[in-house]
Assembly symmetry: C3
């Protein structure tokens, strides 16, 4: 997420009570998790295994749990608990208002949009024109919905990502504060009882013209392209990229961090455990090309 | 759906701005999608592959995208865009009222029925006697619920079918306006967070005595018989027929357009990809007779 | 469940209109289904196959459909329909108040707990301190939620168990009246659109520190340990025991009555059909050790 106002490294280190190495006047403009960072961002790393990834990323500032020489063009902030300090920073820059009404007075709702009884719309939500939101939908703070969007009853937009750090000392899972958003394009339709999690620090995106059936899960920071079709009970984990015109049939599951190429079709109940090329048909758990899977099924039957 | 008032072919062609061939005074009484049509109905077809099916169906009037001689006993209405014109006709005969209250004043609710706080009941809904509707249920317009029915919280009855036409020119999916209904029999119990889609032009039916667990999807125009048991997270696509006394265990998926015979049992996580005979036990994805599947599992283990 | 007030065998037999054998003054303190009974409880059995289990259980009183000599230390109550009479007893001792407000005046809600608009909280619910309940949650009567618990929108806590007796004469499924409860520990997080059924006569339990993603089903009387992670769309049947620190990945299904040992990890889409030992990784439907399953997948590919 972008932070407002942008703040100096010195201010941030002082807020966290930590030392740092590098330009104290550098202006930090964003806070982002490692999978999507830009220049100006602060990122965190708390395991030697991931030091290189953080230090060679586009992030300008790295919140890190070991004092080390500062690489050229980077700034290091030294923290005993980078995860905890990162969460503290996010909370500092996130406005969490209370919700006294079903539709927040700070929400912006476009002309021609029809909102049925019992819809909850949080603070700073933006909804475009000519949408239809059916009863009992929940739209969490700051989510953005385009024009001509239909959302069916009891769907939840913007719930927190499922993202924890396990503390080895205690065995407890500590929550990463989700501060990303959900961005829904134009002409999207979302069925009933779907759950679209917000991004952890970036956005969960549903591209224009994409249609979701009922009871579908879309994880944090996942980006779905345009004109896709997702049948009922599909479950997509976090940080997935689904390109345009992909079809996922019923009950398909997709593991985190994979890419499904443009025009791919994944048959019902398949489990996508690695990235898939576009313009092909897949089946099975784990999913492989459908022809291959069908051959396996025949071979097994004939054993 | 039945249309009200029944209207002449001449009126319909004039409303659509199209030509036609056949008896101008013929009274059209219904609008239905090809999978369930009756005499008096208008149906549409927009691909030569399906011309025969439409022309040999029980429908009296066919909305078609090619001028051709009119077969005996039929009426043809010629349209450049049968799908779009069919949607226009549906919209013309569908009353879509607004929802200002959580319980519409046009809903009819039987004696002894208990409705918890936060339930949404749309226009012209009919609910029988001695039902219990738990909090946050949504019942869309015109759905019909029998007597002694229990529905748990956050379930959605009557959301739109997942049914689109892909426009080849643009790659966009155009929504088919669902105008069918949901009909729920007596002594049905439906768990929490289920989604029962309305029929596209006909009805989605849940037969008397059938029990659904939580998080179940029932697609448009699917007909479920009496005294069935569906365990949690079952997903049934559109236009499926499930006969009486069928048991589907947890997370079973059923593809569209199949029939599951009376008394069949489908074990958990199976995927039903073709019609299944009654009074047998099935397992696997795709589902086959459970004994056969068990043999395959043993053979594979012993390889 | 415990009954209040505790009642003599004589009073119960008279209420049911049945005969009995044993101490008429014995004080019955609870009504429980066979899978979790204690001394002082009344249990029922209606099939010779299960007589021994009921008669050798800890239950003090057995509601049974055949007159027989009373074993030492037991009391028998003779009933033509033990299931129906058991339900009548449960109803007699269950207070089912009405719900006129979204938040019952008999609910107890701890300091610092934030409840968003549109949340339904039933009678006698107890919620601890510093919890966050997002919009459109439903918490049924008598459920207990610990401290620092986060529950996301449209989740349902305490819906009835999916538990029926099939009446052979009519083919109808008769509902077992769920009178158990849901007990949620501290620092639990539950995602959006989850369904946590109440116990049938005992409790459904989610241990402290356990985190659930979205669209998860937890069946009646299931006990989940501490610090577990359950990914989206997991489905757990009734009467399952999941020990501490278990991880179930997306869309995993777990059959009823099994135990998953401490620290076990079950990979996505697996189906757990028997008990699994702790500290191992499982995959497949039915789930076996993941290494074994991976070998099978390779062998099948190489056929």
């Amino acid at each position: 997420m972008k932070i407002n106002p942008p703040s100096t490294v010195q201010w941030i280190a002082s807020f966290l009570g930590t030392g740092f190495s590098g330009n104290p006047e550098f202006m930090v403009t964003g806070i982002n998790e490692i999978h999507r960072v830009e220049r100006g961002d602060i990122v965190f790393t708390d395991h030697p295994k991931y030091y290189d990834k953080a230090l060679s990323s586009k992030a300008s500032v790295v919140l890190i749990d070991r004092e080390m020489p500062c690489p050229d063009g980077k700034i290091l902030i030294f923290s005993k608990d980078p995860f905890g300090d990162f969460n503290r920073l996010i909370l500092r820059f996130t406005t969490r208002g209370s919700h006294e009404k079903m539709i927040s007075s700070t929400a912006v709702i476009g002309e021609g949009t029809v909102i049925d009884p019992g819809v909850f719309i949080g603070n700073n939500v933006v909804i475009g024109k000519n949408c239809r939101l059916h009863s009992h939908i929940s739209v969490y703070d700051c989510c953005v919905i385009g024009n001509n969007v239909i959302i069916h009853s009891n769907t939840v937009i913007g719930s927190d990502g499922f993202y924890y750090k396990k503390r080895a000392e205690t065995g407890r899972h500590e929550k990463f504060i989700s501060c990303g958003n959900v961005i829904i394009g134009d002409e999207v339709e979302i069925g009933a009882c779907c759950t679209i999690d917000r991004g952890v620090t970036h956005n969960t995106v549903i591209g224009s013209g994409t249609k979701l059936d009922n009871l579908i899960q879309v994880g944090h920071d996942t980006v779905i392209g345009k004109n896709c079709l997702l049948a009922a009970q599909v479950g997509i984990a976090g940080m997935v990229t689904i390109e345009d015109e992909v079809t996922l049939w019923g009950q398909v599951g997709v593991i985190s961090n994979v890419v499904i190429g443009k025009g791919a079709v994944v048959l019902a109940q398949s489990g996508v455990a690695k990235s898939l090329k576009g313009n092909a048909v897949y089946f099975g758990s784990p999913a492989v090309e459908a022809r291959e899977k069908m051959r396996e099924i025949v071979k097994l039957k004939n054993l």
